[in-house]
Amino acid sequence: MGIEERSIVVNLGEVRVSKDPKETLTCLGIGSCIAICMYDTERGLCGMAHVVLPESNGTGTSPKYADVAVPQLIYDMRHRGGNISRLTAKIAGGAQMATVGGGGEIGHKNTTAVMENLTLNGIKVISSDVGGHRGRSVTMPVGQCGKVFVKTIGEQPREL
């Protein structure tokens, strides 16, 4: 990345939107979490959400929950000029990191919840890299709006 380029880390439970072609949105070291990457290529607009848990059960307002993150990301994208009919998504994550204990299913639950909420809000998911047992880092260079890259330990980033 050049000196003028900036990496914007989207931490657990955060939503970030950008139109700055010098910025790259990124979720680092996600396991069972889901990185939702949404874009409107006509506007050069990109957005990313870092989902941790599937459902708020109506009790939470934090975008760490899929049912809060998806509507918030859509709202933020539209607020920055994104057109709902053009918004498209790619998702990555949802790994099962632990095979012991009761938390092993959370990755699958997050994936299901994210897909359901995107569908419910009329957003098409055109590609995904989910499941498995490895951590991922996900990057979305705003200057290459529409492109999403996924990396695992020991491997080169690949385009989703």
């Binding site: 070291g29 396991g31 012991v100 880092s137």
Partner: protein, 209 residues
Amino acid sequence: MSSKTLEQVELSDWTKLVTKGTVNAASGLSRMLGREVKVTYFNLRKIMVSEAFDIFGGPETLVVGIYLSIQEGADGHIMLVYPPKIACSLVDMAMDNPDDTTQEIGENEESALAEIGNIVGSFFLNSMADDTGIRFQPTPPQVLQDMAGAILNIALTDIMQYADDLFIMDTTFETDDKKISGLFLVLPSGNFLDIMTKHSDEYGKVSWE
């Protein structure tokens, strides 16, 4: 699910319990390794969840984690997390190898680390059982080599259901000639603290020396 946090349970009680448990875990390691293992550094502190990954230089940093889930008695997580070089050193200690023998973590090495996790977890929980009268049962350990964020996430997703911060313990175990510095995480879920509080209310304060 209860919303009890470590603020609502007396922090000093928890600190005493985990300190004693950690010392007992070192005692277990001593028996396993056949040499004295001491806790030479112990720092219990509260951090935001988002800061947890910075301890290892960021969420993408490759680390080795030994994970156990607490399933009987109460819910919670135990995790030992080390940089790969330190984990290799731990394997050399366990296998009584000369220094720097282990260069990467394969199947045999994972097995040695799992056994360490088993000992540390069991001795820690036994200490807590002695003090609280509650019988805890950990799962078999799982050894992972992956990004720090992905490994820590196993426990953090549970914690984040009711809190955005957590207590971690920076711990150094030391023998005469080796220092093993890493992260020893004991993360109680909501019902763990409920059970401890209830037990304390019913049977009087937890007792310790």
